[in-house]
Symmetry: C2
Subunit: 329 residues, 2 copies
Protein backbone atom coordinates (compact mmCIF):
# COMPACT_ATOMS: atom_id res chain seq x y z
CA UNK A 1 0.00 0.00 0.00
CA UNK A 2 2.74 2.38 1.01
CA UNK A 3 4.87 1.33 -1.98
CA UNK A 4 1.99 1.89 -4.42
CA UNK A 5 1.23 5.21 -2.77
CA UNK A 6 4.84 6.28 -3.20
CA UNK A 7 4.92 5.56 -6.96
CA UNK A 8 3.22 8.73 -8.26
CA UNK A 9 5.36 10.72 -5.84
CA UNK A 10 8.54 9.34 -7.42
CA UNK A 11 7.09 10.02 -10.88
CA UNK A 12 6.21 13.56 -9.91
CA UNK A 13 9.71 14.00 -8.49
CA UNK A 14 11.22 12.69 -11.74
CA UNK A 15 8.98 15.06 -13.73
CA UNK A 16 10.05 17.94 -11.51
CA UNK A 17 13.76 17.24 -11.86
CA UNK A 18 13.36 16.79 -15.65
CA UNK A 19 11.52 20.10 -15.79
CA UNK A 20 14.26 21.81 -13.73
CA UNK A 21 16.95 20.28 -15.93
CA UNK A 22 15.49 21.45 -19.27
CA UNK A 23 14.79 24.90 -17.79
CA UNK A 24 18.36 25.25 -16.55
CA UNK A 25 19.67 24.00 -19.90
CA UNK A 26 17.59 26.56 -21.79
CA UNK A 27 18.78 29.35 -19.49
CA UNK A 28 22.45 28.47 -20.01
CA UNK A 29 22.08 28.00 -23.78
CA UNK A 30 20.15 31.25 -24.24
CA UNK A 31 22.72 33.12 -22.19
CA UNK A 32 25.69 31.69 -24.09
CA UNK A 33 23.88 32.52 -27.33
CA UNK A 34 23.78 36.20 -26.35
CA UNK A 35 27.44 36.03 -25.35
CA UNK A 36 28.31 34.56 -28.75
CA UNK A 37 26.44 37.44 -30.41
CA UNK A 38 28.42 40.00 -28.39
CA UNK A 39 31.63 38.12 -29.18
CA UNK A 40 30.87 37.95 -32.92
CA UNK A 41 30.11 41.68 -32.96
CA UNK A 42 33.44 42.37 -31.26
CA UNK A 43 35.29 40.03 -33.63
CA UNK A 44 34.05 42.01 -36.62
CA UNK A 45 31.22 41.51 -39.05
CA UNK A 46 31.02 38.26 -41.04
CA UNK A 47 29.07 38.54 -44.26
CA UNK A 48 27.36 35.16 -44.20
CA UNK A 49 23.76 34.66 -45.31
CA UNK A 50 21.49 34.52 -42.28
CA UNK A 51 19.03 32.31 -44.18
CA UNK A 52 21.63 29.57 -44.78
CA UNK A 53 22.55 29.63 -41.09
CA UNK A 54 18.88 29.32 -40.14
CA UNK A 55 18.48 26.42 -42.53
CA UNK A 56 21.48 24.64 -41.01
CA UNK A 57 20.07 25.16 -37.51
CA UNK A 58 16.83 23.41 -38.56
CA UNK A 59 18.75 20.63 -40.34
CA UNK A 60 20.96 20.06 -37.30
CA UNK A 61 17.95 19.92 -34.95
CA UNK A 62 16.31 17.44 -37.33
CA UNK A 63 19.44 15.26 -37.34
CA UNK A 64 19.78 15.39 -33.56
CA UNK A 65 16.12 14.39 -33.07
CA UNK A 66 16.58 11.50 -35.47
CA UNK A 67 19.75 10.37 -33.67
CA UNK A 68 17.89 10.45 -30.34
CA UNK A 69 15.06 8.43 -31.90
CA UNK A 70 17.43 5.76 -33.26
CA UNK A 71 18.83 5.31 -29.74
CA UNK A 72 15.30 4.98 -28.32
CA UNK A 73 14.24 2.48 -31.02
CA UNK A 74 17.30 0.33 -30.22
CA UNK A 75 16.49 0.41 -26.51
CA UNK A 76 12.66 0.20 -26.42
CA UNK A 77 11.77 -0.96 -29.94
CA UNK A 78 9.37 0.91 -32.22
CA UNK A 79 6.04 1.67 -30.53
CA UNK A 80 2.96 3.71 -31.43
CA UNK A 81 4.37 6.60 -29.42
CA UNK A 82 7.86 6.72 -30.94
CA UNK A 83 7.33 5.64 -34.57
CA UNK A 84 8.27 8.29 -37.10
CA UNK A 85 5.38 7.64 -39.51
CA UNK A 86 2.48 9.95 -38.87
CA UNK A 87 -1.06 10.77 -39.97
CA UNK A 88 -2.28 13.83 -41.83
CA UNK A 89 -4.34 14.65 -38.76
CA UNK A 90 -1.23 14.76 -36.54
CA UNK A 91 1.13 16.49 -38.93
CA UNK A 92 -1.14 19.11 -40.48
CA UNK A 93 -0.59 21.67 -37.69
CA UNK A 94 3.21 21.32 -37.64
CA UNK A 95 3.93 23.79 -40.46
CA UNK A 96 2.17 26.59 -38.61
CA UNK A 97 4.83 27.39 -35.96
CA UNK A 98 7.54 27.05 -38.62
CA UNK A 99 5.64 29.50 -40.81
CA UNK A 100 5.11 31.89 -37.90
CA UNK A 101 8.79 31.77 -36.96
CA UNK A 102 9.69 32.38 -40.60
CA UNK A 103 7.43 35.43 -40.80
CA UNK A 104 8.97 36.65 -37.53
CA UNK A 105 12.49 36.05 -38.85
CA UNK A 106 11.64 37.76 -42.13
CA UNK A 107 10.30 40.73 -40.20
CA UNK A 108 13.25 40.79 -37.82
CA UNK A 109 16.29 39.99 -39.93
CA UNK A 110 15.25 39.58 -43.57
CA UNK A 111 13.12 42.60 -44.24
CA UNK A 112 15.55 45.07 -42.77
CA UNK A 113 14.12 47.74 -44.97
CA UNK A 114 10.66 47.26 -43.56
CA UNK A 115 11.94 47.42 -40.00
CA UNK A 116 14.18 50.37 -40.59
CA UNK A 117 11.33 52.24 -42.12
CA UNK A 118 8.73 51.41 -39.50
CA UNK A 119 10.62 51.02 -36.25
CA UNK A 120 14.28 51.91 -36.41
CA UNK A 121 13.46 55.20 -38.10
CA UNK A 122 11.77 56.28 -34.89
CA UNK A 123 13.32 54.05 -32.25
CA UNK A 124 17.02 53.20 -32.07
CA UNK A 125 18.24 49.60 -31.70
CA UNK A 126 18.54 49.62 -27.87
CA UNK A 127 15.06 51.15 -27.77
CA UNK A 128 13.81 48.26 -29.87
CA UNK A 129 15.40 45.80 -27.42
CA UNK A 130 13.29 47.37 -24.71
CA UNK A 131 10.09 47.10 -26.75
CA UNK A 132 10.83 43.38 -27.18
CA UNK A 133 9.90 42.92 -23.51
CA UNK A 134 6.30 43.24 -24.70
CA UNK A 135 6.81 39.57 -25.69
CA UNK A 136 6.48 38.70 -22.01
CA UNK A 137 3.01 40.21 -21.73
CA UNK A 138 1.83 38.87 -25.12
CA UNK A 139 2.97 35.35 -24.18
CA UNK A 140 1.02 35.56 -20.92
CA UNK A 141 -2.14 36.79 -22.64
CA UNK A 142 -2.00 34.22 -25.47
CA UNK A 143 -1.09 31.42 -23.03
CA UNK A 144 -4.27 32.11 -21.10
CA UNK A 145 -6.46 32.51 -24.23
CA UNK A 146 -5.15 29.67 -26.42
CA UNK A 147 -4.08 27.06 -23.90
CA UNK A 148 -7.02 28.00 -21.63
CA UNK A 149 -4.82 27.61 -18.58
CA UNK A 150 -5.42 30.28 -15.98
CA UNK A 151 -2.64 32.17 -14.29
CA UNK A 152 -3.56 33.16 -10.73
CA UNK A 153 -3.74 36.86 -9.85
CA UNK A 154 -0.42 36.66 -8.02
CA UNK A 155 1.14 34.95 -11.06
CA UNK A 156 -0.13 37.75 -13.27
CA UNK A 157 1.35 40.27 -10.86
CA UNK A 158 4.63 38.32 -11.07
CA UNK A 159 4.47 38.38 -14.87
CA UNK A 160 3.97 42.14 -14.98
CA UNK A 161 6.92 42.46 -12.58
CA UNK A 162 9.03 40.23 -14.83
CA UNK A 163 8.33 42.53 -17.77
CA UNK A 164 9.00 45.71 -15.76
CA UNK A 165 12.12 44.19 -14.15
CA UNK A 166 13.65 43.06 -17.46
CA UNK A 167 13.01 46.46 -18.99
CA UNK A 168 14.50 48.22 -15.95
CA UNK A 169 17.61 46.02 -16.12
CA UNK A 170 18.09 47.06 -19.77
CA UNK A 171 17.67 50.80 -19.16
CA UNK A 172 20.44 52.98 -20.56
CA UNK A 173 20.88 56.72 -20.99
CA UNK A 174 19.11 56.67 -24.37
CA UNK A 175 16.16 54.50 -23.26
CA UNK A 176 13.88 57.49 -22.88
CA UNK A 177 13.72 57.74 -26.68
CA UNK A 178 11.32 54.80 -26.49
CA UNK A 179 8.71 57.18 -25.09
CA UNK A 180 8.84 59.10 -28.37
CA UNK A 181 7.86 55.99 -30.36
CA UNK A 182 5.01 56.98 -32.68
CA UNK A 183 1.86 54.90 -33.07
CA UNK A 184 3.21 52.94 -36.07
CA UNK A 185 6.23 51.85 -34.04
CA UNK A 186 4.04 50.64 -31.18
CA UNK A 187 1.74 48.79 -33.57
CA UNK A 188 4.72 47.08 -35.25
CA UNK A 189 6.27 46.18 -31.89
CA UNK A 190 2.95 44.76 -30.65
CA UNK A 191 2.44 42.77 -33.87
CA UNK A 192 5.95 41.30 -33.51
CA UNK A 193 5.28 40.47 -29.85
CA UNK A 194 1.97 38.80 -30.71
CA UNK A 195 3.55 36.83 -33.57
CA UNK A 196 6.37 35.62 -31.37
CA UNK A 197 4.02 34.84 -28.47
CA UNK A 198 1.56 33.05 -30.75
CA UNK A 199 4.30 30.88 -32.31
CA UNK A 200 5.47 29.83 -28.85
CA UNK A 201 2.02 29.14 -27.42
CA UNK A 202 0.90 27.32 -30.58
CA UNK A 203 3.98 25.07 -30.48
CA UNK A 204 3.16 24.19 -26.87
CA UNK A 205 -0.43 23.41 -27.87
CA UNK A 206 0.76 21.04 -30.61
CA UNK A 207 3.31 19.28 -28.41
CA UNK A 208 0.97 18.99 -25.42
CA UNK A 209 -1.95 17.72 -27.55
CA UNK A 210 -0.38 14.23 -27.61
CA UNK A 211 1.30 13.88 -24.20
CA UNK A 212 2.38 10.26 -24.72
CA UNK A 213 3.92 10.90 -28.17
CA UNK A 214 7.71 10.95 -28.02
CA UNK A 215 9.10 14.49 -28.04
CA UNK A 216 11.78 13.58 -30.60
CA UNK A 217 9.15 12.56 -33.15
CA UNK A 218 7.26 15.80 -32.53
CA UNK A 219 10.51 17.75 -32.87
CA UNK A 220 11.45 15.90 -36.04
CA UNK A 221 8.27 16.97 -37.79
CA UNK A 222 8.47 20.51 -36.49
CA UNK A 223 12.03 20.85 -37.78
CA UNK A 224 11.31 19.22 -41.15
CA UNK A 225 8.88 22.04 -41.83
CA UNK A 226 11.43 24.47 -40.40
CA UNK A 227 13.90 23.24 -43.04
CA UNK A 228 11.36 23.56 -45.84
CA UNK A 229 10.40 27.10 -44.89
CA UNK A 230 14.02 28.17 -44.50
CA UNK A 231 14.95 26.63 -47.87
CA UNK A 232 12.20 28.83 -49.28
CA UNK A 233 13.76 31.83 -47.51
CA UNK A 234 17.20 31.09 -49.00
CA UNK A 235 15.69 30.97 -52.47
CA UNK A 236 13.75 34.19 -52.19
CA UNK A 237 16.34 36.22 -50.30
CA UNK A 238 19.87 34.91 -50.77
CA UNK A 239 19.67 32.89 -53.98
CA UNK A 240 22.20 35.07 -55.84
CA UNK A 241 24.67 35.27 -52.95
CA UNK A 242 24.58 31.48 -52.42
CA UNK A 243 24.94 30.82 -56.17
CA UNK A 244 27.83 33.26 -56.62
CA UNK A 245 29.76 32.96 -53.34
CA UNK A 246 28.72 29.47 -52.18
CA UNK A 247 26.45 28.22 -49.38
CA UNK A 248 29.06 28.70 -46.64
CA UNK A 249 30.47 32.05 -47.78
CA UNK A 250 31.54 34.22 -44.86
CA UNK A 251 31.29 31.41 -42.27
CA UNK A 252 33.71 31.50 -39.34
CA UNK A 253 34.28 29.55 -36.14
CA UNK A 254 31.86 31.85 -34.33
CA UNK A 255 29.21 31.28 -37.00
CA UNK A 256 29.54 27.52 -36.52
CA UNK A 257 29.35 27.86 -32.73
CA UNK A 258 26.27 30.07 -33.05
CA UNK A 259 24.57 27.51 -35.31
CA UNK A 260 25.38 24.71 -32.85
CA UNK A 261 24.11 26.80 -29.96
CA UNK A 262 20.91 27.81 -31.76
CA UNK A 263 20.19 24.17 -32.58
CA UNK A 264 20.70 23.00 -29.01
CA UNK A 265 18.67 25.83 -27.52
CA UNK A 266 15.92 25.17 -30.08
CA UNK A 267 15.70 21.61 -28.81
CA UNK A 268 15.78 22.87 -25.22
CA UNK A 269 12.81 25.17 -26.02
CA UNK A 270 10.83 22.18 -27.30
CA UNK A 271 11.68 20.22 -24.17
CA UNK A 272 10.52 23.11 -22.00
CA UNK A 273 7.25 23.20 -23.98
CA UNK A 274 6.79 19.47 -23.43
CA UNK A 275 7.74 19.19 -19.76
CA UNK A 276 7.00 22.73 -18.58
CA UNK A 277 5.29 25.59 -20.46
CA UNK A 278 5.70 28.95 -22.19
CA UNK A 279 5.59 30.78 -18.87
CA UNK A 280 8.63 28.85 -17.64
CA UNK A 281 10.29 29.58 -21.01
CA UNK A 282 9.78 33.31 -20.54
CA UNK A 283 11.22 33.21 -17.00
CA UNK A 284 14.14 31.15 -18.26
CA UNK A 285 15.05 33.54 -21.09
CA UNK A 286 14.65 36.53 -18.75
CA UNK A 287 17.08 35.04 -16.26
CA UNK A 288 19.39 34.27 -19.19
CA UNK A 289 19.36 37.97 -20.07
CA UNK A 290 20.49 38.90 -16.55
CA UNK A 291 23.05 36.09 -16.52
CA UNK A 292 24.49 37.32 -19.83
CA UNK A 293 25.03 40.78 -18.37
CA UNK A 294 26.81 39.39 -15.29
CA UNK A 295 29.02 37.08 -17.38
CA UNK A 296 29.81 39.97 -19.75
CA UNK A 297 31.29 41.87 -16.82
CA UNK A 298 33.98 39.19 -16.52
CA UNK A 299 34.35 38.39 -20.22
CA UNK A 300 34.17 41.83 -21.81
CA UNK A 301 34.66 44.21 -18.87
CA UNK A 302 31.07 45.53 -19.13
CA UNK A 303 29.77 47.67 -16.26
CA UNK A 304 26.54 46.94 -14.43
CA UNK A 305 24.26 49.91 -13.82
CA UNK A 306 22.14 50.66 -10.76
CA UNK A 307 19.13 50.06 -13.03
CA UNK A 308 20.46 46.55 -13.69
CA UNK A 309 20.61 45.77 -9.96
CA UNK A 310 17.11 47.14 -9.39
CA UNK A 311 15.72 45.21 -12.36
CA UNK A 312 17.39 42.02 -11.10
CA UNK A 313 15.79 42.46 -7.69
CA UNK A 314 12.36 42.89 -9.29
CA UNK A 315 12.88 39.83 -11.53
CA UNK A 316 14.00 37.76 -8.52
CA UNK A 317 10.88 38.73 -6.57
CA UNK A 318 8.77 37.87 -9.65
CA UNK A 319 10.31 34.37 -9.80
CA UNK A 320 9.72 33.92 -6.07
CA UNK A 321 6.07 35.01 -6.35
CA UNK A 322 5.45 32.77 -9.38
CA UNK A 323 6.94 29.72 -7.70
CA UNK A 324 5.34 30.09 -4.24
CA UNK A 325 1.94 30.73 -5.74
CA UNK A 326 2.27 27.61 -7.90
CA UNK A 327 3.17 25.42 -4.94
CA UNK A 328 0.09 26.55 -3.04
CA UNK A 329 -2.33 25.98 -5.90
CA UNK B 1 -29.38 39.00 17.13
CA UNK B 2 -28.77 40.25 13.60
CA UNK B 3 -28.54 43.84 14.85
CA UNK B 4 -26.02 42.93 17.55
CA UNK B 5 -24.07 40.84 15.05
CA UNK B 6 -23.94 43.78 12.66
CA UNK B 7 -22.44 46.14 15.24
CA UNK B 8 -18.76 45.08 15.02
CA UNK B 9 -19.13 45.03 11.24
CA UNK B 10 -20.20 48.68 11.23
CA UNK B 11 -17.37 49.51 13.63
CA UNK B 12 -14.85 47.70 11.43
CA UNK B 13 -16.23 49.54 8.40
CA UNK B 14 -15.90 52.85 10.24
CA UNK B 15 -12.32 51.95 11.24
CA UNK B 16 -11.52 51.05 7.65
CA UNK B 17 -12.87 54.27 6.21
CA UNK B 18 -11.08 56.29 8.93
CA UNK B 19 -7.87 54.45 8.07
CA UNK B 20 -8.36 55.15 4.34
CA UNK B 21 -9.12 58.79 5.06
CA UNK B 22 -5.99 59.47 7.14
CA UNK B 23 -3.85 57.56 4.62
CA UNK B 24 -5.22 59.58 1.72
CA UNK B 25 -4.74 62.78 3.72
CA UNK B 26 -1.11 61.91 4.47
CA UNK B 27 -0.46 61.10 0.80
CA UNK B 28 -1.87 64.42 -0.39
CA UNK B 29 -0.11 66.46 2.31
CA UNK B 30 3.26 64.75 1.73
CA UNK B 31 2.93 65.28 -2.00
CA UNK B 32 2.02 68.96 -1.68
CA UNK B 33 4.92 69.38 0.75
CA UNK B 34 7.35 68.21 -1.95
CA UNK B 35 5.69 70.51 -4.45
CA UNK B 36 6.11 73.46 -2.05
CA UNK B 37 9.80 72.59 -1.75
CA UNK B 38 10.23 72.60 -5.56
CA UNK B 39 8.27 75.85 -5.72
CA UNK B 40 10.37 77.51 -3.00
CA UNK B 41 13.58 76.42 -4.77
CA UNK B 42 12.31 77.95 -8.01
CA UNK B 43 11.24 81.14 -6.26
CA UNK B 44 14.78 81.64 -4.96
CA UNK B 45 16.43 80.97 -1.65
CA UNK B 46 14.98 82.46 1.54
CA UNK B 47 17.48 82.82 4.35
CA UNK B 48 15.22 81.90 7.22
CA UNK B 49 16.38 79.80 10.18
CA UNK B 50 15.26 76.20 9.70
CA UNK B 51 15.20 75.70 13.48
CA UNK B 52 12.65 78.49 14.02
CA UNK B 53 10.43 76.98 11.29
CA UNK B 54 10.68 73.54 12.94
CA UNK B 55 9.77 75.10 16.29
CA UNK B 56 6.71 76.79 14.78
CA UNK B 57 5.62 73.50 13.20
CA UNK B 58 5.67 71.83 16.63
CA UNK B 59 3.89 74.78 18.25
CA UNK B 60 1.19 74.78 15.58
CA UNK B 61 0.62 71.01 15.93
CA UNK B 62 0.37 71.49 19.71
CA UNK B 63 -2.20 74.27 19.28
CA UNK B 64 -4.26 72.27 16.78
CA UNK B 65 -4.31 69.21 19.09
CA UNK B 66 -5.45 71.42 21.97
CA UNK B 67 -8.19 72.99 19.81
CA UNK B 68 -9.43 69.53 18.84
CA UNK B 69 -9.43 68.52 22.51
CA UNK B 70 -11.45 71.56 23.56
CA UNK B 71 -14.09 70.62 20.97
CA UNK B 72 -14.18 67.04 22.26
CA UNK B 73 -14.44 68.18 25.90
CA UNK B 74 -17.40 70.41 25.03
CA UNK B 75 -19.13 67.52 23.23
CA UNK B 76 -18.31 64.50 25.40
CA UNK B 77 -17.08 66.06 28.65
CA UNK B 78 -13.72 65.28 30.23
CA UNK B 79 -13.11 61.51 30.62
CA UNK B 80 -10.16 59.35 31.64
CA UNK B 81 -9.31 58.86 27.98
CA UNK B 82 -9.36 62.49 26.88
CA UNK B 83 -8.13 64.39 29.95
CA UNK B 84 -4.88 66.25 29.36
CA UNK B 85 -3.29 65.52 32.76
CA UNK B 86 -1.03 62.54 32.64
CA UNK B 87 1.17 60.27 34.75
CA UNK B 88 4.95 60.00 34.73
CA UNK B 89 4.48 56.41 33.55
CA UNK B 90 2.55 57.54 30.46
CA UNK B 91 4.59 60.58 29.58
CA UNK B 92 8.13 59.34 30.23
CA UNK B 93 8.52 57.77 26.76
CA UNK B 94 7.20 60.79 24.84
CA UNK B 95 10.49 62.71 24.65
CA UNK B 96 12.20 59.79 22.87
CA UNK B 97 10.67 60.21 19.37
CA UNK B 98 11.11 63.99 19.63
CA UNK B 99 14.78 63.46 20.54
CA UNK B 100 15.24 60.96 17.69
CA UNK B 101 13.63 63.32 15.18
CA UNK B 102 15.84 66.13 16.47
CA UNK B 103 18.98 64.03 16.04
CA UNK B 104 17.77 63.11 12.54
CA UNK B 105 17.04 66.77 11.73
CA UNK B 106 20.40 67.83 13.12
CA UNK B 107 22.08 65.20 10.96
CA UNK B 108 20.04 66.12 7.90
CA UNK B 109 19.71 69.88 7.90
CA UNK B 110 21.62 71.28 10.86
CA UNK B 111 24.96 69.57 10.71
CA UNK B 112 25.47 70.22 7.02
CA UNK B 113 29.17 70.07 7.56
CA UNK B 114 28.97 66.54 8.91
CA UNK B 115 26.83 65.38 6.00
CA UNK B 116 28.89 67.09 3.37
CA UNK B 117 32.00 65.55 4.76
CA UNK B 118 30.66 62.02 5.14
CA UNK B 119 28.08 61.60 2.39
CA UNK B 120 27.89 64.44 -0.06
CA UNK B 121 31.66 64.35 -0.53
CA UNK B 122 31.22 60.96 -2.16
CA UNK B 123 27.59 60.93 -3.26
CA UNK B 124 25.82 63.84 -4.92
CA UNK B 125 22.44 65.10 -3.69
CA UNK B 126 20.28 63.04 -6.11
CA UNK B 127 22.38 60.02 -5.17
CA UNK B 128 21.56 60.69 -1.53
CA UNK B 129 17.84 60.83 -2.41
CA UNK B 130 18.20 57.31 -3.77
CA UNK B 131 19.97 56.05 -0.64
CA UNK B 132 17.04 57.40 1.40
CA UNK B 133 14.93 54.55 0.03
CA UNK B 134 16.79 52.38 2.53
CA UNK B 135 14.26 53.89 5.00
CA UNK B 136 11.67 51.56 3.52
CA UNK B 137 13.64 48.43 4.38
CA UNK B 138 14.74 49.71 7.80
CA UNK B 139 11.12 50.55 8.72
CA UNK B 140 10.04 47.02 7.74
CA UNK B 141 12.80 45.38 9.77
CA UNK B 142 12.25 47.56 12.86
CA UNK B 143 8.45 47.21 12.59
CA UNK B 144 8.82 43.46 12.79
CA UNK B 145 11.42 43.53 15.60
CA UNK B 146 10.03 46.27 17.85
CA UNK B 147 6.27 45.99 17.30
CA UNK B 148 6.58 42.17 17.02
CA UNK B 149 4.02 42.12 14.25
CA UNK B 150 4.91 39.72 11.48
CA UNK B 151 4.71 40.66 7.84
CA UNK B 152 3.83 37.66 5.65
CA UNK B 153 6.34 36.49 3.04
CA UNK B 154 4.28 38.05 0.27
CA UNK B 155 4.14 41.33 2.23
CA UNK B 156 7.92 41.27 2.56
CA UNK B 157 8.22 40.63 -1.17
CA UNK B 158 5.90 43.62 -1.69
CA UNK B 159 8.05 45.75 0.60
CA UNK B 160 11.25 44.90 -1.29
CA UNK B 161 9.39 45.75 -4.51
CA UNK B 162 8.28 49.07 -3.01
CA UNK B 163 11.90 49.96 -2.26
CA UNK B 164 13.15 48.83 -5.70
CA UNK B 165 10.23 50.55 -7.45
CA UNK B 166 10.71 53.90 -5.68
CA UNK B 167 14.44 53.81 -6.43
CA UNK B 168 13.76 52.94 -10.08
CA UNK B 169 11.29 55.82 -10.39
CA UNK B 170 13.97 58.23 -9.11
CA UNK B 171 16.73 57.01 -11.46
CA UNK B 172 18.47 59.71 -13.45
CA UNK B 173 21.55 59.81 -15.66
CA UNK B 174 23.83 60.41 -12.67
CA UNK B 175 22.30 57.73 -10.42
CA UNK B 176 25.07 55.25 -11.16
CA UNK B 177 27.39 57.37 -8.98
CA UNK B 178 25.61 55.78 -6.02
CA UNK B 179 27.42 52.53 -6.82
CA UNK B 180 30.70 54.31 -6.07
CA UNK B 181 29.56 55.20 -2.53
CA UNK B 182 32.38 54.21 -0.17
CA UNK B 183 31.79 52.25 3.02
CA UNK B 184 31.50 55.39 5.20
CA UNK B 185 28.70 56.69 2.97
CA UNK B 186 26.78 53.43 3.22
CA UNK B 187 27.24 53.30 6.99
CA UNK B 188 25.97 56.88 7.34
CA UNK B 189 23.01 56.22 5.05
CA UNK B 190 22.11 53.06 6.97
CA UNK B 191 22.42 54.87 10.33
CA UNK B 192 20.11 57.63 9.05
CA UNK B 193 17.65 55.03 7.77
CA UNK B 194 17.66 53.18 11.08
CA UNK B 195 17.25 56.40 13.06
CA UNK B 196 14.32 57.50 10.92
CA UNK B 197 12.76 54.01 10.97
CA UNK B 198 13.22 53.70 14.73
CA UNK B 199 11.62 57.11 15.41
CA UNK B 200 8.58 56.09 13.35
CA UNK B 201 8.17 52.63 14.83
CA UNK B 202 8.76 53.89 18.38
CA UNK B 203 6.09 56.58 17.94
CA UNK B 204 3.66 53.90 16.79
CA UNK B 205 4.53 51.76 19.83
CA UNK B 206 3.82 54.70 22.18
CA UNK B 207 0.53 55.62 20.51
CA UNK B 208 -0.71 52.02 20.20
CA UNK B 209 0.22 51.19 23.83
CA UNK B 210 -2.94 52.97 25.04
CA UNK B 211 -5.53 52.29 22.31
CA UNK B 212 -8.40 53.96 24.14
CA UNK B 213 -6.44 57.14 24.97
CA UNK B 214 -7.53 60.04 22.77
CA UNK B 215 -5.04 60.65 19.94
CA UNK B 216 -5.13 64.41 20.49
CA UNK B 217 -3.84 64.00 24.07
CA UNK B 218 -1.08 61.70 22.83
CA UNK B 219 -0.22 64.18 20.09
CA UNK B 220 -0.25 67.12 22.53
CA UNK B 221 2.42 65.49 24.70
CA UNK B 222 4.50 64.36 21.72
CA UNK B 223 4.50 67.90 20.35
CA UNK B 224 5.23 69.57 23.68
CA UNK B 225 8.50 67.68 23.76
CA UNK B 226 9.01 68.49 20.07
CA UNK B 227 8.75 72.19 20.99
CA UNK B 228 11.23 71.81 23.86
CA UNK B 229 13.79 70.00 21.74
CA UNK B 230 13.44 72.47 18.87
CA UNK B 231 13.77 75.42 21.26
CA UNK B 232 17.03 73.82 22.31
CA UNK B 233 18.06 73.59 18.63
CA UNK B 234 17.33 77.30 18.07
CA UNK B 235 19.51 78.23 21.01
CA UNK B 236 22.46 76.09 20.01
CA UNK B 237 22.35 76.72 16.27
CA UNK B 238 20.60 79.95 15.38
CA UNK B 239 20.76 82.00 18.58
CA UNK B 240 22.80 84.84 17.01
CA UNK B 241 20.73 85.00 13.82
CA UNK B 242 17.47 85.15 15.80
CA UNK B 243 18.86 87.77 18.21
CA UNK B 244 20.25 89.99 15.44
CA UNK B 245 17.70 89.57 12.62
CA UNK B 246 14.59 88.51 14.55
CA UNK B 247 12.72 85.23 14.87
CA UNK B 248 10.92 85.59 11.55
CA UNK B 249 13.81 86.92 9.46
CA UNK B 250 13.66 85.69 5.87
CA UNK B 251 10.09 84.35 6.15
CA UNK B 252 7.94 84.48 3.02
CA UNK B 253 4.48 83.28 1.95
CA UNK B 254 5.99 79.96 0.87
CA UNK B 255 7.72 79.56 4.24
CA UNK B 256 4.39 80.06 6.01
CA UNK B 257 2.65 77.60 3.68
CA UNK B 258 5.41 75.05 4.26
CA UNK B 259 5.07 75.42 8.04
CA UNK B 260 1.29 74.96 7.77
CA UNK B 261 1.72 71.93 5.54
CA UNK B 262 4.37 70.36 7.77
CA UNK B 263 2.12 70.79 10.81
CA UNK B 264 -0.88 69.19 9.10
CA UNK B 265 1.12 66.31 7.67
CA UNK B 266 2.73 65.75 11.08
CA UNK B 267 -0.73 65.34 12.57
CA UNK B 268 -1.70 63.06 9.65
CA UNK B 269 1.36 60.89 10.40
CA UNK B 270 0.20 60.52 14.02
CA UNK B 271 -3.29 59.59 12.85
CA UNK B 272 -1.85 56.95 10.51
CA UNK B 273 0.19 55.55 13.43
CA UNK B 274 -2.96 55.38 15.56
CA UNK B 275 -5.42 53.97 13.02
CA UNK B 276 -3.05 52.18 10.65
CA UNK B 277 0.70 51.55 11.01
CA UNK B 278 4.20 52.44 9.83
CA UNK B 279 3.89 50.09 6.85
CA UNK B 280 0.87 52.05 5.58
CA UNK B 281 2.82 55.26 6.24
CA UNK B 282 5.69 54.05 4.03
CA UNK B 283 3.31 53.10 1.21
CA UNK B 284 1.56 56.45 1.58
CA UNK B 285 4.76 58.51 1.33
CA UNK B 286 5.97 56.39 -1.60
CA UNK B 287 2.78 57.03 -3.53
CA UNK B 288 3.14 60.72 -2.60
CA UNK B 289 6.58 60.70 -4.26
CA UNK B 290 5.09 59.35 -7.51
CA UNK B 291 2.13 61.75 -7.26
CA UNK B 292 4.52 64.70 -6.83
CA UNK B 293 6.33 63.76 -10.05
CA UNK B 294 3.07 63.53 -12.01
CA UNK B 295 1.75 66.83 -10.63
CA UNK B 296 5.13 68.49 -11.38
CA UNK B 297 4.63 67.63 -15.05
CA UNK B 298 1.61 69.93 -15.11
CA UNK B 299 2.89 72.57 -12.67
CA UNK B 300 6.53 72.90 -13.67
CA UNK B 301 6.69 71.18 -17.08
CA UNK B 302 8.84 68.33 -15.72
CA UNK B 303 9.37 65.29 -17.97
CA UNK B 304 8.68 61.75 -16.84
CA UNK B 305 11.32 59.17 -17.69
CA UNK B 306 10.80 55.56 -18.79
CA UNK B 307 12.39 54.61 -15.45
CA UNK B 308 9.61 56.55 -13.69
CA UNK B 309 6.91 54.57 -15.51
CA UNK B 310 8.63 51.26 -14.75
CA UNK B 311 9.09 52.21 -11.09
CA UNK B 312 5.43 53.24 -10.85
CA UNK B 313 4.34 49.87 -12.25
CA UNK B 314 6.48 48.05 -9.67
CA UNK B 315 5.13 50.23 -6.83
CA UNK B 316 1.54 49.61 -8.00
CA UNK B 317 2.09 45.84 -8.01
CA UNK B 318 3.65 46.12 -4.53
CA UNK B 319 0.56 47.92 -3.22
CA UNK B 320 -1.68 45.30 -4.83
CA UNK B 321 0.32 42.43 -3.30
CA UNK B 322 0.34 44.05 0.13
CA UNK B 323 -3.40 44.67 0.13
CA UNK B 324 -4.57 41.28 -1.24
CA UNK B 325 -2.32 39.42 1.14
CA UNK B 326 -3.71 41.39 4.05
CA UNK B 327 -7.32 40.69 3.11
CA UNK B 328 -6.69 36.96 2.99
CA UNK B 329 -4.99 36.75 6.35
Amino acid sequence: MAAIGAMPEINSLRQKSRKSFVTLLLTILTSSQSILIVWSKRAGKYEYSVTTANFLVEALKCALSLAALVRIWRKDGVTDDNRLSTTWDEVKVYPIPAALYLVKNLLQAGLDFFLQYYIFAYVDAPGYQILKNLNIISTGVLYQIILKRKLTEIQWAAFILLCAGCTTAQLNPSSDHVLQTPLQGWVMAIVMALLSGFAGVYTEAIIKKRPSRNINVQNFWLYVFGMIFNAFAIMTQDFDAVMNDGFFHGYSLITVLMILNHALSGIAVSMVMKYADNIVKVYSTSVAMLLTAVVSVFLFGFHLSLAFFLGSIVVSVAIYLHSTNKARR
